[in-house]
Symmetry: C2
Subunit: 194 residues, 2 copies
DNA sequence: TTGACTAGAACGATCGTTCGATCTATTTTG
DNA sequence: CAAAATAGATCGAACGATCGTTCTAGTCAA
């Protein structure tokens, strides 16, 4: 099967399937046989593209991190003030949570340490550092109250991020867009300079 | 029947060992053999006290939830205003994070759904509902700005909770007590009525 | 004697991974 | 240009390791 249209079509199929299964059932509850069955790609092919099961998870993780990093960079280019940048970040995260919940689940809600022991925690990945950089700059500009950068960015984004995990948990019933204005009002008030 | 339990020392030893191993290596990376080796309790004894591996995790989870529920109830009894209650909650969580990081890790940072599929998510467990109840009451009293209760409690505690997970991740280097005042200032400002 | 508890060898299932065979498309050779 | 050679993909049966759990036997207190 799978008349190779592009050489790496199967590679992408494996990654897409892994994202679904890893987020739905968890990494350890997903066997390689599950991935071959759901993706239609044979064991041999998977091991041709990836070193092992961990390699699949790693490739997935890095591709999602990279994507997020690009989107954040675009936001930083598009908006000037820290206020607008950070609000755009929250809006983006809310949007992705609704349209691609698996992506958000894998980024925020999966405990990577358990199956990617080499990898640093998500919180120290590039996108999170970009968020801290925005806050840092906002502090220098006087937009954000002067205090520890870690504290400020944690408080600024903490509410929104917990809102996302609550939504992924099914605690929040309405689409996140419905809460965006309220959440942002609270979040910004927490760190606004005046 | 059910005589007042003089709970077997071995049962507690298993739970204590499981807490350490589950949080250090993860549930799926911890084998029953690991638990027998580290606890010194034989396989047969473990299966005498617990139905299966999941039963160990479940007992652990429920005991920690119950303990937290009690501590929160004590806080609600001890303090009057919502402001003081919620601040005491954050202070307590920060304190536990430092003195018993495994407890906090297991409560906040472990993805229970993967090995306790029957259990509801942490966010809808009793302690989290207590937190929401405090906020609700604060809103009725006029201490907290009137908006969706879920939004308010998420924003009020979101920063602190993310601070905890960051600390558990090793991103935050100072003991959490060092940040308590700043974090609480931000958190309360996010939802304070005036 | 009974029943709660301890012990650890053994079992069956399942897992991640390997391996040799086969197919296909591209490149090299005669 | 045709044929042969090479390299990249694909496939799935089979392997060895490890897992959670069971089972039988034994201990000890009441």
């Amino acid at each position: 099967m799978s008349t190779t249209s592009t050489p790496s079509a199967n590679r992408d199929k494996v990654l897409a399937t892994a994202l679904i299964l890893f987020t739905r059932k968890g990494y350890f509850n997903t066997s390689m046989r599950d991935i071959t069955r759901e993706s239609g790609v044979s064991t041999g092919s998977i091991y041709h593209y990836f070193r092992d099961k961990e390699g699949v998870a790693l490739a997935l993780y890095q591709s999602l991190i990279a994507r997020m990093q690009e989107e954040f960079s675009a936001i930083m280019r598009r908006h000037d003030s820290t206020h607008d940048q950070c609000r755009a970040v929250v809006a983006l995260l809310f949007r992705i949570t609704e349209s691609e919940p698996e992506v958000m689940t894998f980024m925020l809600y999966v405990k990577h340490r358990e199956f990617l022991p080499e990898e640093r925690p998500v919180c120290s990945s590039a996108p999170f550092e970009q968020m801290r950089a925005m806050v840092q700059r906002g502090m220098e500009r006087g937009e954000i109250v002067h205090c520890d950068v870690l504290v400020a960015s944690t408080c600024l984004f903490g509410g929104a991020i917990r809102m996302i995990t609550s939504r992924l948990d099914g605690i929040v019933e309405q689409p996140l867009a419905h809460y965006l204005d309220d959440v942002w009002a609270c979040s910004w008030r927490a760190v606004a300079a005046n």
